[in-house]
Amino acid sequence: MPKNLTTDVLVIGAGPAGSMTAKWAAKKGANVLMIEKRQEIGSPVRCGEGMSKDWFSEVGIKAGRWINVEVEGARIYSPSEKLLEINEKHAGNEVGYVVERDGFDKALAIDAANAGVDVKLKTAATAILKENGKVVGVRAKEFGEPFEIRAPVTIGADGFESQIGRWAGLPTNIALRDMDSCLQYRMTNVDCDVRYCDFYLGKVAPGGYVWIFPKEEGLANVGIGVQVSQIRNPAEARTYLDAWIKNHPAYAKGKTIDVVGGGVSISPPIKQAAADGIMLVGDAARMIDPLTGGGIANGCIAGKICGEVAAEAAAAGTPTKEFFQRYEKGWRARLEEKLYRNWLAKEKLCSLSDETFDKIFDALEGVKLEKLTVHNILKAVHTKYPEVTREFESFL
């Protein structure tokens, strides 16, 4: 049986949010242990692998070998496939990458290890340890052997499937309309354009979208997210994705070499991400951008703040809910407003008919958009179809 352990900061889950939290806690001087139930960090991949990069310096990420392509912008298609092309690179903006997510996750874990973090794989948290209502660590299994890990600060970075938060009594349950059921094929022999990430909106993917993220010439991640509240039959994500591919010859001729699935929360920011002895970060704290479905950046940004507060709390011997307000204030100041606004925008977009989508795209035709923001789009639509934007008044 593995020996029981104690540490200052215990991080559960070695995804981007967990590694980032662990790294910054160690840099601030804490003893940190990060446990991961998988046998390989970052694998299997559950991701479209697209990310912006303007936040890298904030959290200390350097571009590495995990980059597949640097894209120039996005192409967004309406239900009748009117095109809105946004070339951010031409406008001088930082754009983003399509990456090897398993390599990215490993690079972040290596950064954490280099900062002094201990890492244990094949080690799953199986229950929360509580004393006097405070979280004081977890019960875990390493290679199937049960043991206990005690720590003044426990961090739930256990991703979308997070159970740590719910075991601790934090409000992380999500409504059906606040989740997308996702499926993605990595396809070879397709005609993708490596300069753009493509998005298809409307009834082809109710409450979500179809995405094409190119990895190299001829190779792309082709995926779909469908809002769970709009799902009527089992396996509908797959049915929609297969139908979309069938209707698009550039992809119908492709061959699938990998199948990826998963859940993505598209929820408003949660009300409470910390309690006595515990903080949640990343997907576990439902920090995914509800409009784009991207969660890597937010998880890393909040992870840095979380790690620093964790180390401070351990050093001061005050791992209390009150102390963790520093984390709550920090991540909310950085992310909350955008999460909330984008959730409102998502709610609106999910209610639009294909016809309205097409109108919006029609209004945008010929308009030069340099940066894709809800605000910019609505402003452009406003001139031609004020009645469409009336519903969005609060955003303008």
Binding site: K37, R38, Q39, P44, R46, A124, G159, F160, E161, S162, Q163, R166, W167, N173, I174, L176, M179, S181, C182, L183, V228, I231, P234, A235, E236, A237, R238, V259, V260, G261, G262, G263, S265
Partner: protein
């Protein structure tokens, strides 16, 4: 087929023929009663209310209630 308690049965086809171990069902289950270990899915029969939410959330249709 109803089980002894009169509940419907929930079956997760997790032998690998359907399930892709993506965790979508785990994250959405309102009672937090599904568990995923790399390639093994289990759920707590006693807690599950057969609400069928996981059935909808599963992208490949690996969960059946009947």
């Amino acid at each position: 087929m109803p089980s002894q308690q009169g509940k419907k049965t929930l079956h997760i086809e997790s032998s690998g023929q359907l399930c892709i171990y993506c965790g979508a069902c785990v994250g959405i289950c309102p009672l937090n009663c599904i568990y995923l270990d790399e390639t093994r899915i289990t759920f707590d029969e006693r807690i599950c209310t057969r609400c069928e939410i996981c059935v909808k959330a599963c992208p490949v249709g690996a969960i059946e209630i009947g």
